[in-house]
């Protein structure tokens, strides 16, 4: 399975629509953007570039030497890890993208 298919499968999550919009609007009020990190561990070799260079220390190494997301809310979306990952294993996406429609809109 490719990471592309993997992410497509993961994105069809069972989030409740209203809860999603509640959170999205709350974050908009605060003026904070949240990002979601995805690490495709099948391709990751554990070089440690993402762990060392992340400006907000989102990742940490576990005892097996692979990166773990420990502070996902601190991510500022600079995409340093995504650009510098030599194994194409990291994807950064917006956690509350604008594409979803509100249930109450009817359409």
């Amino acid at each position: 399975m490719t990471p592309e298919e993997e992410t497509v499968r993961n994105s069809s999550s069972t989030e409740v629509q209203d809860e999603y919009w509640e959170k999205k609007l709350e974050m908009e009020k605060k003026g904070k953007k949240l990002f979601k990190q995805q690490i495709f561990l099948d391709w990751c070799k554990g070089c440690g570039i993402c762990v060392a260079f992340c400006p907000r220390k989102v990742y940490e190494m576990d005892e097996m030497g692979s990166p773990v997301i420990v502070r996902p809310d601190d991510c500022i979306g600079c995409r340093f890890c995504e650009l510098h990952c030599p194994d194409f294993a990291i994807t950064i996406i917006k956690r509350y993208p604008d594409r979803r429609r509100r249930k109450s809109d009817g359409s």
């Binding site: 440690g48 570039i49 260079f53 650009l83 994807t91």
Partner: protein, 280 residues
């Protein structure tokens, strides 16, 4: 929803090939591959209009992972194969990926003459300062005083600069980037592909397995921090004194001149021979 950068990348990668790729954990060639893909996508080039040729070495594996017309050639002769492709079909965009040993040691002669002719090619030279694949022997770009398998007491020869060699040989576009400065590297590569004439992009890459391990930089993070500390942009380098610049290297566009390329001139000769143009 897949992020834009990841979407671009998976449009061009061949998933039927064995992934993860063969390079060491943290190898800069993977970063260069990503940068190359983004540059090509940014220019909107079709997959069939592109040829990616490579020589031998770690960088020789790069074309296997992308879905263009690719060619894996003999050692040092990547540029000669590219010359043939370009002359046979000048409408193609020919990119050549080489390592430092491939471009300047074994294929050094081909490199300077391709630059002198000003063929409309793009040469991407991945400089990891050592012969990485064969076991860490010193290459023409190994810095003075550093250790390698064949120089265990320190290297006594002086390194030469690939970018400066290309400038003096007559290339129209010469740039240098590192794997730490990736957004800048994307721009340098896409400008190099666009440019009419011979364009050289030298990319400083980390080889922590063979070079770094023998020179107290045994992991990719230390090597990338070294690039961060020692790289100076060309505009800043002009203001600095030679003493300050000692041990550092400049990144950015080193030369960008317009002169008629070989393919252009050759087309004129062909037209004249066919009598399409009146002799003046």
């Amino acid at each position: 929803m897949i992020a834009e950068i990841t979407r671009i990348r998976h449009k061009y990668l061949r998933h039927d090939k064995k992934f993860p790729h063969v390079w060491c954990p943290g190898c800069g060639i993977g970063i260069v591959l990503g940068s190359l893909i983004r540059a090509i996508d940014g220019l909107g080039l079709a997959k069939n209009d592109l040829v990616l040729a490579s020589g031998i070495g770690c960088s020789g594996r790069l074309p296997a992972y992308v879905d263009f017309n690719t060619l894996h050639t003999t050692h040092g002769r990547a540029l000669t194969f590219s010359t043939g492709i370009k002359l046979a079909n000048p409408s193609l965009n020919v990119l050549t990926v080489m390592g430092d040993g491939d471009a300047t040691a074994i294929g050094g002669n081909h490199f300077i003459h391709a630059a002198r002719r000003n063929l409309n090619l793009t040469a991407i030279i991945i400089n990891n300062q050592i012969y990485g694949m064969t076991g860490g022997q010193y290459s023409p770009t190994t810095p003075y005083g550093s250790n390698s398998t064949t120089s265990p007491y320190g290297h006594i020869e002086h390194a030469f600069s690939i970018a400066d060699l290309a400038v003096t040989s007559g290339a129209s576009y010469v740039a240098r980037g590192t794997v730490y400065h990736v957004p800048a590297l994307d721009k340098l590569i896409s400008r190099g592909i666009e440019k009419e004439g011979f364009s050289v992009i030298e990319i400083m890459t980390n080889c922590h397995t063979q070079y770094g391990r023998r020179n107290e930089m045994s992991d990719p993070v230390t090597m990338m921090k070294w690039f961060k500390d020692h790289a100076v942009t060309t505009t800043r380098a002009k203001k600095m004194s030679p003493e300050e610049l000692k041990g550092k290297f400049s990144i950015g566009v080193l030369t960008d001149i317009d002169k008629p390329s070989y393919t252009e001139e050759y087309q004129k000769i062909r037209d004249r021979a066919k009598g399409r143009e009146v002799k003046s």
